[in-house]
């Protein structure tokens, strides 16, 4: 290593740091956007509970990440899991993180935002029936036992990374992990009581589209920040994050037209997510042209799974498997075909004469879904043995907002009687509008 490189690699770069601070905030916004997206897809009586599952990820996953998750993912280069070296933020300070030009604290925060959104993604499989308390326990354990482990494999120095598997921004730990964990969660928690008997429709398509828009916006930080600076890889990933989802949208429109003769808004929102997901692993490694091709190609398998899944008994409610698992799988695999060293300076794919790259992408595409599925399945079985995972049928009928949170999303206040109002006794004006007893 040349001395100049050595100096550059150990100094904090203000430009890189400024962008990474911004990118971290962008990724955090994605979790709120996801909450809006999910909330629109469920029935109105479950709006808040669905949103709260994403907010809960912000709470729980941040704490577990600071405690041990980050350390398991990014301390040392053990092949399966990291160590305890950074537990409770030990040694995470202003000095640059190894291999980057940004302070370790910023690197930690950026990675934390990834853990948060991944946990929130999994909730899409169990909305409208899982008990909130059980979900909090699940979120805490899953963020350490599944996310942190797969983050170590994919970009913390674990066996996949060490063997050259490419994953720019989280096709392994975020997309495939959440998608296949969602499938396991749906199987263990079980279908909603009305699933397959009644049409369970999105209650607000505008939330869905707006949420997808916020996700796309945040994804520029997610992919664009995964180069840890403002270098070529980040720039490439940023622009590819514009190109790929646009192509997915166009193909999705066409598929909608062929299948139903109309282009749907909820379909478009889904297409945005699929396009962002497929370019997540490939962002900084493929040419803009191939990014567009990947975006277009990813629409096909994901659309097929989204059409097929509701005809099965598997109530993987918000199609995390299709939109994240399958799209992430497609991205990881095709990245091994179309990666170009002339664009990324790292490695070529199969198409450019490097079959080894494709082999390691395929190994990741097999191992990661297997681990995510099996670990999640076992984890939920264990939690389920200790506490009930789901609400009763009666509670499910009432809606999770009232039962779990004692609130409603669209409360009118008609007929509401104040119980605790300190001023009411003195002024006698704070008392209720109506008391129908």
């Amino acid at each position: 290593m040349a001395p100049l490189d050595f100096v550059a690699a150990t100094a904090v770069d203000p430009g890189d740091t400024a962008w990474m601070l911004t990118a971290t905030a962008l990724v955090l916004l994605m979790t709120v956007g996801l909450g809006l997206f999910y909330a629109g897809l469920v029935r109105s009586k479950n709006t808040l509970n669905t949103f709260m599952m994403c907010i809960a990820a912000l709470a729980v996953a941040t704490v577990t990440w600071a405690a041990v998750g980050y350390s398991f993912a990014f301390d040392g280069d053990g092949s399966l899991i990291g160590g305890f070296g950074h537990a409770f933020l030990q040694g995470v300070d202003f000095a640059p993180r190894d291999g980057t030009t940004i302070p370790h604290l910023v690197f930690f925060a950026f990675q934390a935002s990834f853990c948060i959104i991944t946990v929130a993604l999994v909730s899409g499989a169990v909305v409208e029936r899982m008990r909130f308390g059980a979900y909090l326990v699940f979120a805490a354990l899953w963020s350490v036992l599944v996310y942190a482990v797969l983050a170590h494999w994919g970009f913390g120095g674990g066996w996949l990374m060490a063997n050259g598997t490419l994953d720019f921004a989280g096709g392994i730990a975020v997309e495939m992990a959440s998608g296949f964990a969602a499938l396991a969660a749906a199987l263990v928690v079980g279908a909603r009581k009305d699933y397959g008997r009644q049409a369970l429709l999105p209650h607000n398509a505008v939330y869905v589209v707006l949420g997808a828009g916020l996700l796309w916006f945040g994804w520029f930080g997610f992919n664009g920040g995964s180069g840890f600076g403002v270098g070529d890889a980040s720039i490439l990933a940023f622009t590819n994050t514009l190109l790929a989802p646009a192509c997915t949208l166009v193909v999705w429109f066409a598929l909608d037209l062929i299948r139903g003769r109309k282009v749907t808004a909820v379909g478009a929102a889904t297409a945005i997510i699929v396009g962002c997901v497929v370019i997540t692993p490939a962002g900084g490694y493929v040419s803009p042209g191939w990014a567009m091709a990947l975006g277009a190609l990813a629409a096909l398998p994901c659309y097929a799974v989204i059409v097929w899944r509701p005809r099965t008994r598997v109530d993987e409610t918000l199609d995390v498997l299709a939109a994240h698992g399958i799209a992430g799988f497609t991205g990881i695999l095709l990245l091994g075909v179309v990666a170009q060293e002339s664009w990324n300076g790292v490695s070529d794919g199969l198409l450019y004469g490097n079959a080894d790259q494709f082999l390691w992408q395929a190994i990741a595409a097999a191992a990661v879904p297997a681990y995510a599925f099996i670990a999640t399945f076992i984890l939920l079985k264990v939690i389920g043995a200790v506490m009930p995972l789901r609400a009763s049928e009666h509670e499910e009928a009432l809606g999770m907002d009232i039962v779990q949170h004692g609130e409603e999303a669209y409360v009118t206040g008609e007929g509401a009687i104040l119980i605790s109002a300190p001023d009411a006794a003195e002024t006698e004006t704070g008392v209720p509008v109506a008391n129908p007893v």
Binding site: A199, T412, G415, I419, P436
Partner: protein
């Protein structure tokens, strides 16, 4: 073809429009005989599909549904919004209105009960009241011709 929504949902338009069989079969402006009743069912919103299904099975066609709020002795829910804790005195309900000839009253009431019952407080009420007149706007048919899709 496997239908996610469940087969009977596809029949909903038929329920809302009444039976197409009455169109053109009966002379317009013929006044029906016998009396009619208006059956009103106040039920839990989450039981809407069950009620529609049991009404359909009972061959009671033609319903109107509205979202209402009411109070009928069930326990109040307590909700908290920041520092404000409130007792929600009114519960969301669905109101079914079904105009039927006397022959269909029992069927309609039984179907409403069967579809809406959970056994918990708050299942709702059914009211049956006399109905003076009914007119099918499209054809001008009145009374039995208007409320009874299939002559019985």
């Amino acid at each position: 073809m496997p239908d996610f929504a469940g087969g009977w949902v596809a029949l909903l338009p038929a329920i809302q429009l009444g039976s197409p069989r009455s169109a053109g079969r009966e002379l317009p402006h013929v006044k029906g005989t016998g009396t009619m009743k208006l059956v009103i069912g106040i039920v839990r919103p989450e039981k809407a599909n069950d009620v529609l299904e049991s009404l359909y099975r009972a061959e009671v066609r033609g319903v109107t549904i509205s979202r209402v709020q009411g109070h009928g002795g069930e326990l109040d829910r307590v909700e908290t919004y920041r520092g404000t804790t409130v007792k929600m005195g009114l519960a969301e309900k669905l109101r079914f209105e079904i105009a039927v000839s006397d022959d269909f009253v029992d069927a309609a009431v039984e179907a409403l009960c069967a579809g809406a019952r959970t056994g918990e407080v708050g299942d709702g009420k059914i009211f049956v009241m006399p109905l003076d007149r009914a007119v099918r706007i499209r054809t001008g048919e009145t009374d039995h011709g208007a409320v009874t899709p299939v002559a019985k």
